[in-house]
Subunit: 276 residues, 2 copies
């Protein structure tokens, strides 16, 4: 796959201010991080509450108009999950009052959403608590959501989301969805206005006066505990009738575990600046 160099524009609300040497605005890096996270946290302002609403949802980048688009291309974010009546009402409300939508990107859309995902890849243990930190990857997208109404686009997004969880699972199951299943499923399309990623990795660092403290350095273990997600041995459901775990599933579990473990162990040793 050709390396993409497209970058999201830095907006006042999207520019990383703290430790900005860790920031990355490349579409490819940000989209990969979103696709790799099985859940994203979706936040939106609720005028009826002093608190922002936050919903965990499944998010995958895609392009219905250009399904062959590369992960580093300009893409929409498709969100699947419980599309609450609040989201629906707010989508209608924001659409009917353009003033609330002043920051809307040219592509339009209605309800402003902030989509965030963060993954810890290591516990960084230093000589003193203040230098303890995490290795992590983090991505944030800002965009405007609309409900997908076209059945074709909804089907496209449903397959995309299912296969993001387990590759080719869509084709292996009973499809297409029934009309009832289609109508019971809501998909949001988010037109992205901006985004950023932050990656941190490597070993601990400490202040000179602590490093020069022989008693301290000989007493305190310093380093990184790699952290990664593991997929366990598949557990058959009570009505499963397929004896063998199919290869597409077993191989995926094996490869995923290998990839996540290696990334975190690598990150424990050196700086990783991009997600590729």
């Amino acid at each position: 796959m050709p390396r993409q160099e497209l970058q999201y524009p830095k907006q006042p609300y999207s520019t990383v201010k703290r430790l900005n040497d860790r920031a990355n605005y490349e579409l490819e890096t940000i989209h990969r991080l979103i696709n790799e996270s099985r859940l994203v946290s979706v936040s939106f302002n609720d005028p009826d509450s002093p608190f922002p609403a936050v919903l965990p949802m499944i998010g995958v980048m895609g392009s219905f108009d250009r399904p062959s688009a590369d992960v580093g291309d300009v893409l929409d974010l498709y969100l699947h999950g419980y599309v609450s009546s609040r989201i629906m009402n707010l989508t209608r409300r924001t659409t009917s009052s353009p003033s609330q939508d002043s920051e809307a990107a040219p592509q339009g859309g209605s309800l402003p959403l902030t989509i965030q995902t963060s993954t810890i890849t290591g516990l960084v243990l230093a000589l003193t608590p203040n230098h303890h930190s995490y290795n992590y990857t983090s991505a944030t997208l800002f965009g405007h959501a609309s409900l997908v109404t076209s059945p074709d686009e909804k089907l496209y997004a449903m397959a995309l989301i299912t296969n993001q969880i387990i590759p080719s699972r869509w084709e292996k199951t009973r499809v297409p969805p029934t009309p009832a299943e289609m109508s019971s499923t809501s998909i949001l399309r988010v037109k992205i206005s901006a985004g950023s990623a932050k990656l941190h990795s490597g070993g601990p660092s400490d202040d000179r006066f602590d490093l020069d403290n022989q008693d301290l350095t000989q007493r305190v273990w310093t380093g990184v505990v790699p952290v990664y997600t593991t997929l366990g041995e598949p557990v058959p459901g009570h009505y499963n009738q397929v004896e063998q775990v199919p290869d597409y599933l077993g191989d995926f579990v094996t490869e995923q575990n290998e990839t996540t473990r290696k990334f975190s162990e690598h990150a424990a040793r050196e700086e990783v600046r991009r997600k590729a």
Copy 2:
């Protein structure tokens, strides 16, 4: 530890509407989920942006006034991370305009925050994509943040947070922090107004007409792929001088891995309703 039965009040903004049989308002369950998550996502409204601001932070429940309080007691949430100038300014702003703070709980506080954490414990694979789901644990807290100014309370929270990442790590490192370290660290105390948890586990379920489809049930593997976080072999930093990984660290890694794996494997088989 005595089982606590305290529950958070159901507020309009905190009541679980969707699949509310999975909801849980017990302080103990919610506080445990927050304490177990190494990162929480912190959302707040930014009047200068159409998008809510979302920051990943470290959050731990505690009580400076009653350090011996049980996890199921009324507790504050201490947040550590980059306390952005936005949070600071907004904290000042909201304090100076009580109207914005109408929903403030009796305990007071200033900036309204929504704190969310979700953890996937299994991929639930059914006969048809629409019945695919995740096993998960999820907790949300709503509260008002203020900056911790008392050095004693700051020290209390710093130790609490460090030891939440690695038990007794605080005592094993160079403490107390220097005046410079103290002033460079910001801690937020969140007075909690409400909260909720959601837990889902167990195997797949499908519709009768799919279950009766022999060709389908004999073709599609159904069950759960357990998902859990693994702590890897500790990797010594380049200036580490302690040959052996200390027991308090090695044992923690072993026990953590055992606990998270067992929870997810258990959740793949049966319904888990509380976090204890």
